[in-house]
Symmetry: D2
Subunit: 358 residues, 4 copies
Amino acid sequence: MASNSLGNLFKIISFGESHGSGIGVVIDGLPANIEIDLEQIQKKLDERKPGSSDIVSPRKETDQFEILSGLYEGKSTGSPLSIWIPNTDQKPQDYDKLKNVFRPSHADFTYLKKYGIRDHRGGGRSSARITAGWVAAGAIAEQLLKNSGIEVISYVSQIYTHKIPDNLSIEQLRESKNPLRCPHADTAMSIQQSIEQAIKDKDSLGGIVSTQILNCPIGLGEPVFEKFQAKIGQAIFSLNAVKGLQFGGGFEMSTKKGSEVNDEWQTVDSQFKTKTNFSGGLQGGISNGMPIIFDVAFKPVSTIGKPQQTLDTAGNTITLTASGRHDPCVVPRAVPIVSALTWLVLADLWLMGNIKPN
Amino acid sequence: MASNSLGNLFKIISFGESHGSGIGVVIDGLPANIEIDLEQIQKKLDERKPGSSDIVSPRKETDQFEILSGLYEGKSTGSPLSIWIPNTDQKPQDYDKLKNVFRPSHADFTYLKKYGIRDHRGGGRSSARITAGWVAAGAIAEQLLKNSGIEVISYVSQIYTHKIPDNLSIEQLRESKNPLRCPHADTAMSIQQSIEQAIKDKDSLGGIVSTQILNCPIGLGEPVFEKFQAKIGQAIFSLNAVKGLQFGGGFEMSTKKGSEVNDEWQTVDSQFKTKTNFSGGLQGGISNGMPIIFDVAFKPVSTIGKPQQTLDTAGNTITLTASGRHDPCVVPRAVPIVSALTWLVLADLWLMGNIKPN
Amino acid sequence: MASNSLGNLFKIISFGESHGSGIGVVIDGLPANIEIDLEQIQKKLDERKPGSSDIVSPRKETDQFEILSGLYEGKSTGSPLSIWIPNTDQKPQDYDKLKNVFRPSHADFTYLKKYGIRDHRGGGRSSARITAGWVAAGAIAEQLLKNSGIEVISYVSQIYTHKIPDNLSIEQLRESKNPLRCPHADTAMSIQQSIEQAIKDKDSLGGIVSTQILNCPIGLGEPVFEKFQAKIGQAIFSLNAVKGLQFGGGFEMSTKKGSEVNDEWQTVDSQFKTKTNFSGGLQGGISNGMPIIFDVAFKPVSTIGKPQQTLDTAGNTITLTASGRHDPCVVPRAVPIVSALTWLVLADLWLMGNIKPN
Amino acid sequence: MASNSLGNLFKIISFGESHGSGIGVVIDGLPANIEIDLEQIQKKLDERKPGSSDIVSPRKETDQFEILSGLYEGKSTGSPLSIWIPNTDQKPQDYDKLKNVFRPSHADFTYLKKYGIRDHRGGGRSSARITAGWVAAGAIAEQLLKNSGIEVISYVSQIYTHKIPDNLSIEQLRESKNPLRCPHADTAMSIQQSIEQAIKDKDSLGGIVSTQILNCPIGLGEPVFEKFQAKIGQAIFSLNAVKGLQFGGGFEMSTKKGSEVNDEWQTVDSQFKTKTNFSGGLQGGISNGMPIIFDVAFKPVSTIGKPQQTLDTAGNTITLTASGRHDPCVVPRAVPIVSALTWLVLADLWLMGNIKPN
C-alpha cells in the first residue's frame, strides 16, 4: 500500500491505468524557478509512445500531456508539478474476453488474488502504459539537471541473440536514433529481421537495454540503503518485464579474480581516474566520477499471438490466442523508460547530495 | 542523508562502524508479543562471523550481541527492539598505513570526496562488518514469520568458474551446511581448491549466491515501486560487492522468445500453479505462489595481497600490498547476509500484505 | 520539499493551486474493494465550497470532481485513487494589483522569499482552496471506515466572543446543520449578527472549531512520534489560519492539580471507562475508548476590506484595500475541513492498527 | 508501527525504556564534519535529568552518555551518530505492585490493550525518561546550527495559576536559569510555594512552557504538510502530558477581528518587518524573519501520592496510592525537552531549506 511513489526529495507519485481516463504523475520536490521546456517533455513521450513504427504496438496514443499544476509563467514554483496524459485510444472491449482469464506471465492472477478485484482492461495498473507518466517526470528531472553536465545514454545492446560489439565508442552509443535504438547498424539489421520473423510467428523477443551515465559528479549516492545502485535497483525492478540488472563488470565478475577486476587509481590530467571501470563508476554506493554503467535484461513480452494453454478464473483449462494490440518486442520502447528512471534517481540523489548546511 | 534505514513497516536502522565500538541495529515496527529466540539470533551471527574456518578472515569477533531494548519477559513489546554487537577484535593500527591511500575498488576515494572526512579504520561505515546488525535483524524477521510456512534457502551456486549443476533438488539445496555453503560436493571441492590457490596467490575470487523462497503466500509485493523484486533490488544492491541480480530466468530470458519462457497456468491438486517458473515466482511485482528465485553476483573481494599500483590522497602513485585481515572469497559468508536481507524484505511485505481494514 | 503528502499507509498527495486549472489529490494506500459513494464525496465538497450563503465568499465554484483513476465498477482497486476538481470561477485578474504587494498576515512575503517566485493569483498554493482536495480525500477515508462505527462530529464552538455553552448533548452537537455549523441556536444568532457587522465593517472574525470522535476503538495511535495527537497536530497545523490546538482539558489543565484532572478508571456495563475525560480520549498517544476531543483555534481571515498599510515588494509603503472575493469568517467553512483531516488521520491510524501479522 | 523516528533529513530514531538497560537515539542525517562538543550534550542532559533539586523526582540518574557510532576525531562523519544513556538507578521493584493496575491518566490501559503486553516498569516506553535521548539529539541539532545565528529560548511562563507578566524583555526570558526555569522572580517564588504545597498535599501541578526562536532565517518550513507549525505540532504532541499548543496570538486570536491582529509590513533599517507579531513569525507555514513564538500546555503529572480509585486489569476497583519516584511538577524539566524538540525541527527544516540544486 502507498507504494506508488519513488524518491525522497525529488519524489514522483504515479497514478492512472491503461484503459481508464488517463495516466498521471505528480512531482513533489521539484525546486522552484526551473524553466520547463514543454516540447522536450513531449519529445520524450513521443519516444516511448506506441504506434510510432511498424514493429511496435499499433495502439495510437497521441500522448499529449497537460500540466495540471506547479507551473507559473514557464517556471516551476516549488509546488507540486503534476502532469496528466489522457488515454485517447483505449479499446477496453478488446479485453472483454480476458476478463476471466489468467494470461501466462501476466499479472492477472496475482492482482486478482491480492486485491480481490481486477481492472482487466489492458492490464489496468500493471500495464506498461503507466510509464508514460514516468517518462514525463523523467524529462523534468533531466531539465532540473540541465546545467549539471550529466548525460544519460541508454540504448539497445541486445535483442534476442543479437548483441552489439563491445568496442563501440561513446559517439556511436549516443547515436542510437533508429527505431530500434540500437547503436550498431549490422546488429540493428539482424534484430529487425528477427522482430519481423517474430511478428510472423506471433511471438515476442527479449533483450537488454544498457545505460551509461557520463559526467556524473563524484559523490552521488547515499550509504547504506540509498546507495546509487540500490536506488537504481529499486527503480529499475519496478519496471515491467525486467528480469536482471548488473553494474559495471556485472555477473561476469563472479567468475573472476580480484587481481583481474580491481580498478587501480591513476591520475589523468591531474584528475583521479581508475585505469579500468569494472566498478561501473560506483564504489561504496557512491559515484566515483567514472562512467556509471548498467545493463537491464528484459524478458520477451508475455502477450503473444501463438495459442497458449492456461486457466480461467474458475480453474478451467482454456486455449488463449491473444488479439489486442501489443509489441512483439518492447525493448526499444523501454530505452526512454530506463533513461527516465535513471534521471529520476539522479535528480533525487542530486538534491540529496546538494544539501549545504553551512 | 538519512539513508541508513530499510523497510517501511518492519524498518531497520543500521548504525556502527567496523573499528568503532560496535555495530548496532534498531528494529522499529516489530509487532508485539513475538517470542524472541536469542540463541537463534546468535546462530545466524555465527554463520556470518569471520574466523570460523581457514578460508575466511582471521579476524576473531565473537559477535556476541546484547538486546538493548524492546524485549520484556522474552517477548517483543511493540517498542523498538535494538541490538548491539560490540567490536572486540578491531585492530585499527592495521589500517594506519592506509589512512592516506585510495585502495583499488574500495570506497576510500568516494567516502573521502563525498564527506570530506573518512574513518579509514577497516573501511568504517563502508565495511561489510555492519552487516552483522542486518543478520541479527534478519533473524528476528525470520522469527516473526515463523508460523508463515515461508522458507528461505540461500546457497553458493558458483564461485570463480565453478558452478553447481542445474538439476539439484530442494533437499540438496537446503543442505548447504559446509563452510562453503555449496550444496554440491564436487563443486564444493573444486571451489575449495580454487580458494586455497587464491590464498597462495594472494588473490580473491567472486561468485554467486542463489536464493529460493518457498511457500511464500500469494500476494506479497506492492505495486508499483514496492514490487517484490524492487524491494529485493534495493536491499541486495545495498550489500557491498554485489554487481548483479536476476530473478527467475534472468539475463538468459533476454535471448528468448515469449513462447519459450511464458509460464502457462495449470491446476495441480486444485491449486493454481505455473507449468514452468521463468517468472521466478513474481508477476506484476507480486508473489504468485511459486518459488521466488533470484541470483546475486558478487565481485571478488577488493582487498588482495598482490601488489597493486594506486594513488594516495595527494595523488602520488604508490604500490599497495594489503596486509590487514580479509577473506579470499566472501561469497560463502555472504549467504547468511543475503538470506537475512531476504527475510527483512519478506517481513516488511508481510506486514504490508496483512493490513486488514475490515 | 516533497512536503505535499500526509499519512503513511492511507497517504494523500495534494496538488493544484487556487487560480490554476484545478485542485487535485491522489490517495495512495486505499485498500481494494471499498465501495465509493460519489454523491457522498460531492456532499462533503458542497459543505466546504464557497458561494453557499451570504456570509461566505461569493466565489462560485461548483466543485464538481472527477475520479481520474483507481475506481473500477464502483469500487476501489488497490491502485491510487485520484480526484480532480477543476477551477471554474477563478478570476486571476482580481489579483493583478496584488502581484507586487505583501498582504498583511498572508503568505505573500514568505513564499516569494523562499521560492524566489510566486503565483500571486489567489494565493496560489497557499490558498485554502487546496483543501477541496483534502475534503474529497477525507470523504473517502470516511467511507473506508464506514463499518468501524467511528463518528466524527465537528462544529463551531465559538466565533468572535460568542461561545456555545459547555453542557450541550452529543445529539445537539451532531445537529450543527445551519450555515454557521453552530449547534446552539442563541449563540448562532449572536454569531450571525457579528458576522453581518463584520461585513459592514469590512472586517473579519476568528473562532474555534471543536471535534469529538465517538466510538473510536481502543488502541489507535502509534507511539512515540505517531501518537494520535501528534498526527492530528501535524494535520491540523497544516491548515491555514490555525493558531492553536488543544486536547481534552487543554490549556485549562495547565492551571490545575493532578487530583483535579486525573481520569480514574471505573467499569460501566463491564466496560473500562474513565469517570472524567480530561485526557480527551488519549493516553500515551493511544485512544482509550472514550470520546477523543479537541479544539482548533482559527485567527480571523487576513483578507479584509478595511484599508491597511503594508509594503510592496520594492519596500514602498502602500495602502491596501482588499477587493477580491473572500469570507468575513472562515470558521464555519473550516468545519468540514477539520472533519476531513480527522478522517484522514483516523484512516491512517486505522490501517496501522489493523496490521495482523499472524 | 515504525513510529519511533522524527524528521526527514535530520532524522532521529528513539529507542529504550525507562527501566530497561538504557535509553538510546540514532541520528541519521547529520552532515559530516560537524564538530561535536560532548560537554555541551552532557550539559543539556543535566538540565533534563531528575534528582537535580528538591522539587523534582529523586531518581538519581547520572545520565552519562556514550557515543556509539558516527564520531571520528571529534567530528561527525556523515554516518549515523548514535548515543546510549545507560539507566543506572532504575528500581523496577518499585513498580511490582503496579503490574496489574491501570493508573489514572497514564498509558497503562492503552498500552496493554494495544499491544497485549506491557512493560509496566516505570511506564516502559511511555515514560518521559525516553526524552533523554531526544535531549541529546537536540543538543547535536543545536551544534549543527551553531553558525546559523538561531537562538531558542524556552522558559516556564506559567505553573498552576501563576503566570509571568507579558512584558518581559528577551534578556529576561533568556535568563531563566533558576531550577524553575521561570524568568520572573516573583512568579517563580509563588510557583515554588505552590509546588512545596503540592508536595505536602501529595499532588501535582500543570503549567506552560513558552518558546521564542530568534533570528530564524526567512524561509524555513515546507508547505503544505511540513509547515513549520505542522512539524512543531507533530514533535510537541509526541511529548507526554502536552495538552495544548498555540502559535503567536494563539487561542486568543479566535476572539478577535482581522483588523486587530493582522500583521502589517513595514521596513525597519531597510529590513522587512511586521509591526506586530500575532502570526508568531510564521506565514503560510514558513518563517518570516520575526520571532517564532509558541506555548505548550502541560497537564499536571498523573502520578500523585493522594489515594485514587481506579481499576486493576481484572476490572476490580482498587485504591491506588503512588509511591515510586516522581515529580510534583514536570514543567521546569520539560523546558530543555521542548527546546530540544524545537532544535530537532529546526535542523530538519534547515537541511530541507538548504538544498541548493544549482
